[in-house]
Amino acid sequence: MPSNEWLLITVGAILVNNVVLSRILGICPFLGVSKKLETALGMSGAVTFVLTISSFVTALLYKLLLSAEITICGTTVNLSFTKFLVFIVVIASLVQIIEILLRKFSPSLYRALGIYLPLITTNCAVLGAAELNAGANNGLGRGILESTVFGFATGLGFGLALLLFACLRERLELSMIPRPFRGTAIALVTAGILAMAFMGFGLLVK
């Protein structure tokens, strides 16, 4: 029953194994662009987009090309060892394209995201999702559609964490935090408590 499986993938990626709060991936933009809700939403939108597309493309490449046994000139080759290389190239290119498009169509968001936009390239959440897709089912990889769903759900999970965190930080902006803890310090403590709270969802989906 694919719909049930998709639901499990989605719930698992959003709540149980939240990419930020449980897998601790993508912390850089999580801390960097969560100061304002608007930019946080823009960032999660961009990341979700990249994640979905890159999951689809990487799964496609992995399934059809890299994990397949290809016979060239009588020798059978398995190219799955090149997966990281390929994934990084794919992700980096996608981010480039998005950056160009964003600069064209939403300059304000482009400026607000600043350095964090090209940094999606090195956002380990994106590579992580691709790798998790490839590594699922004992290295056989998820199906292409499932991978795309997983990528999308991971993006949503990232968005959820970023949304919560941005709102919290907007409230923290209005708190009288002792000087040594202002800024990143209190953000990390808050992220820690948030991650702890999300542990309650552990084992919800096995």
């Binding site: 000139c73 080759v77 190219l79 794919v90 169509f105």
Partner: protein, 281 residues
């Protein structure tokens, strides 16, 4: 073995090529012209984002400098060397700028100014100004709750005995304090002028004396002692040093100001600070 290598190189290479073409295509199709000059100018600006220039932060000023021909000397806090650098980059003549410093035109510290009542509320000048104006009796003097000190991005203003005093060596003349003071006591003057009449009261001279022992009572002694028009009486009765043509600081002693309103910048800030607990009382 070599086949595997060859295959890997080919596959990765082809993928890279396809993606590269895709990027090239999008970049061509959706190109936006960006001005690297603005970025560079922003880097050369101090980056304090103090807003002293009237623009919303350094980035805004950088944009204005490059695209609207605003002079880089609009930045009030930039150091001379940095201004030179910036002007060189822009290819314009660096304007010689006199260093300005903020001066609080009030000498009414807690021990000198009379109290009218006990203020109970937010310890902030602008807030106190909407609730009776704080505890000091003078309606024109420093309220003393440190609005300017908190607003100063460089920490140049210190609250001493319930009076704001400026440390001119730290002050960079951005003028932030000028805008926040609800009593408009702070003005930017050339840093070279080291003597002032520290009172802004527009009350009648007798009334001023009643509420503050350091008030200028417009007796005119300093004007006579100077005798060269370097100290002037203004329309509302306050006396000011002519900053274009300032008298020597020795005037503070020779004039014999009866209240000590005419004093040097050094004596003005030499008030002994008292503990904040006492300030609140």
């Amino acid at each position: 073995m070599s086949t595997t290598f060859l295959a890997a190189v080919c596959v990765v290479g082809i993928i890279g090529l396809i993606l590269g073409c895709l990027i090239a295509f999008t970049a061509k199709k959706f190109d936006v012209e960006a001005d690297p000059k603005v970025e560079k100018v922003r880097e050369l600006l101090p980056g304090a984002n103090c807003g002293g220039c009237g623009f919303a932060g350094c980035a805004d000023l950088a944009d204005a400098i490059v695209n609207r021909g605003i002079s880089p000397s609009r930045c009030t806090v930039i150091s001379a060397a940095a201004l030179k650098n910036l002007s060189a980059f822009l290819g314009v003549e660096a304007e010689e700028k006199e260093k300005m410093t903020a001066v609080v035109f009030c000498g009414g510290s807690l021990s000198r100014a009379a109290r009218k009542a006990q203020y109970n509320g937010i310890m902030d000048c602008r807030s106190a100004n909407v609730a009776g104006g704080g505890g000091k009796a003078c309606a024109y003097g420093c309220i003393g709750y440190g609005c300017c000190a908190r607003a100063c991005p460089f920490g140049a203003i210190e609250m001493r005995d319930g009076l704001a005093v400026v440390h001119p060596e730290v002050c960079r003349g951005c003028g932030k304090c000028v805008t926040v003071c609800p009593r408009n006591l702070i003005r930017l003057v050339p840093a070279s002028v080291k003597i002032h009449v520290y009172c802004s009261s527009a009350d009648k001279p007798a009334a001023r004396r009643k509420v503050c022992s350091a008030a200028c009572i417009s007796c005119g002694k300093c004007i006579r002692a100077d005798g060269q028009g370097r100290v002037e009486k203004q329309e509302n009765g306050t006396v000011r040093i002519n900053c274009e043509n300032p008298p020597d600081i020795s005037l503070a002693e020779t004039a014999g100001c009866p209240t000590g309103a005419l004093q040097t910048e050094e004596t003005h800030r030499a008030i002994q600070p008292i503990s904040p607990k006492e300030t609140q009382k």
